[in-house]
Symmetry: C2
Subunit: 195 residues, 2 copies
């Protein structure tokens, strides 16, 4: 069985799309390139994604979901809320840093794509804030955190740590001292949350 | 006495430079335009600023200094450190928001210029962090704040509030709810600082 005779799933198309984006960059990548990489007609691709824009949005969502899925386990864990909060923020910083550092070209490509796909980004941010709300709420429930409005507080924690996950700051993530800066911000926020 | 017969000071040149930048944008503004606006030769401008780059750096510094000078009074005041910290952060947000909102074209121009003038920006950030350190240190001295390293803590407070002063977020400053978001971040940080 050759690869082209495998069932053409949305996931296979998205994998190929990422590969094409990596090779050609966001400006030049076309649906025809994706179809060619898969050895199928572009009509077959369009049966899964009705437009080029829909394909680009789906591949962006997949890229963003990789981060939120990795973090959701930490948000759901049973250990104490402060340790979960620290672990979650550290994992978010680490995931973003790895994405930016391991494959800077693909990261730049996705920075262009996230700029185009506000809905996917909005959902991603809502997803991450919901995970953070869950941690803070469990801290309030067990009496270790104080927060009148856990959702608003979660948003505040997310925004206050923006320097360590917002792609606009990616260039700062490799600078000396960034670990200490991250630790100082987290410390201040955790102290502010404590009951 | 006509304006051109006034003494040609660095400040007059910088005022004219800002006006020329506002009119022509950062890409097209030249030293000849500045000289023409002042009714002097471009040689007279070069006697104050040896290169076009030096002139651009000086006008950028002047723009940034306008914010830090407005804030330095709050940092130096005698009232209680928590009120000063809240007042200082609110004044910083307000000053940046006014700059971005009142004259968006000039703000965009200076965003280009700050991108070119890393040294002026670095000095500006160091200046603001020093003001914040002063407030936090006086809180530690009077026993209302806890901070092992007031300078590192000041940097953490500055970075944690970046969303409300970093020009990269200027588009968010007019959105509904931004005041509440700012208040939530400040509240968390103040709580984290309290002894």
């Amino acid at each position: 069985m050759t690869p082209t005779s495998e069932i053409l799933t949305a996931e296979r198309i998205l994998e190929a799309t990422e590969e094409v984006l990596r090779r050609h960059g966001p400006a030049k990548a076309t649906v025809v390139d994706v179809a060619r990489a898969l050895g199928v007609s572009h009509g077959s691709v369009y049966r899964h994604f009705r437009t080029k824009a829909a394909l680009r949005e789906a591949v962006t969502k997949r890229w963003l979901d990789r981060t939120s899925e990795a973090l959701s386990g930490i948000a759901a864990e049973g250990r104490d809320p402060e340790a979960r909060l620290r672990g979650w923020l550290a994992a978010l910083f680490e995931a973003k840093r790895r994405k930016a550092g391991d494959d800077p070209e693909l990261f730049a490509t996705y920075t262009v794509l996230t700029g185009e796909n506000g809905t996917a980004v909005g959902e991603h941010l809502a997803d991450l804030t919901a995970q953070l709300t869950r941690i803070i709420r469990s801290g309030v429930d067990t009496g270790v955190f104080t927060a009148d409005d856990p959702e608003a507080t979660a948003r505040a924690v997310f925004q206050a740590t923006g320097r360590f996950h917002d792609p606009g700051y990616a260039r700062e993530w490799g600078l000396p001292g960034v670990e200490e800066e991250f630790a100082a911000v987290v410390e201040l926020l955790v102290r502010g949350l404590r009951a």
